[in-house]
Symmetry: C2
């Protein structure tokens, strides 16, 4: 892998999971080698861009041959740090929170879900994916004791800001944010992925409305 010198463009980083996914598929199909041309056909990206992207991290291919699928898959996994076991808590066990807790395979993506919290007393003790829902009042103690580094936020917008600030104080370093509140760069040294489902839906509405225009 290249010396971790100049930082990688965000655009490139966003494409890495996609490459990883395609390679996984090919691996499942029992294929052994691929090329930027083949990946281009699969993804719609240009072969040039794919080679450019991969070369940010090192020369994983071989002239005249292409890329070994298993090796490249493994390398991208390492780049994404998917072998990590980042301790993760989820706050807000409503519809969405429970679905995320139950649906996501955290373990395969570098995370371990170790706690679920909700403000609703009635939910306390219920199991989601084998993990008990705890009352939010126990959050601080839990964090001091278990030192999670990632929080998944599935709470209503109103509570998001205060909760975020509190969690940072408790040592949380990264947020997977499903709330309507933007966790922006007001907090330095924190990693954030905002998942704004309603923004996505509104964008779809726009695209649909303009479908006729293009061409």
């Amino acid at each position: 892998m290249k010396s971790s010198g100049q930082s990688i463009s965000p655009q490139v980083v966003k494409r890495l999971p996609r490459y990883y996914r395609y390679l996984e598929d090919m691996l499942a199909e029992g294929l052994v080698r691929t090329s930027s041309k083949e990946l281009s056909a699969k993804s719609g990206l240009t072969a040039s861009q794919i080679r450019q992207d991969l070369n940010c991290f090192g020369g994983f291919g071989q002239q005249g041959y292409g890329y070994n699928i298993a090796q490249l898959h493994n390398e991208i996994g390492k780049i994404l740090a998917l072998d990590k076991k980042n301790k993760t808590i989820l706050i807000g066990a409503g519809n969405l929170g429970r679905a995320v807790a139950a649906h996501m395979d955290f373990a395969k993506k570098g995370f371990v879900l170790i706690g679920i919290f909700d403000k609703n007393e009635a939910a306390s003790g219920q199991l989601v994916n084998g993990i008990p829902i705890r009352h939010i009042s126990g959050l601080d103690d839990f964090c001091l004791e278990n030192k999670p580094v990632i929080a998944v936020l599935c709470v209503p917008k109103e509570r998001a800001r205060e909760l975020t600030e509190n969690l940072i104080r408790l040592g949380i370093k990264g947020f997977w944010n499903f709330t309507h509140f933007d966790i922006g760069n007001q907090f330095p040294q924190i990693a954030v992925e905002n998942v704004h489902l309603s923004d996505s839906l509104m964008t779809l509405c726009y695209k649909l409305d303009r479908l006729g225009d293009k061409k």
Copy 2:
């Protein structure tokens, strides 16, 4: 509004829902006017970019004054076409599908959810958000009769491709895609928003791993 001439850059479109959200907040706070400078402070985007973005659609501001919040909110709503009532069906009533059906306020984003489908016989008849789950075998007839234009896909990856092709044949024009399968540009004249939750999670893993690097 400007003549719908040259098409708008995708980057600009993605920012519109954000502006809409900020304006909604300000409206709720009872504020009347704002400026690109104020929106800049709120969003972290530059004032210049905000003015540039809004001007793709028309001159909604006034020199020396700024923007009227209610008016701008309304204009962006029209641009996004949120007043539409696009008939929508959701396929796959597992954890995630149910949460999406129950959690999203489709009506406020230009959609009406008119049907939910699942292959599991046992789920048939259950209500999610007041809408009964139907067996997938009735999908074709339902579409012919009710003519939905949007499909929300929450099925396993394996079934995504075939289902997508079938739905296009049935007249679906837009997809909100939660599956692992990329609905790409292999289908022209279709609007797509891919929501790849696991890609987002992997990206977070990467960012967390590199937190120390940046200064």
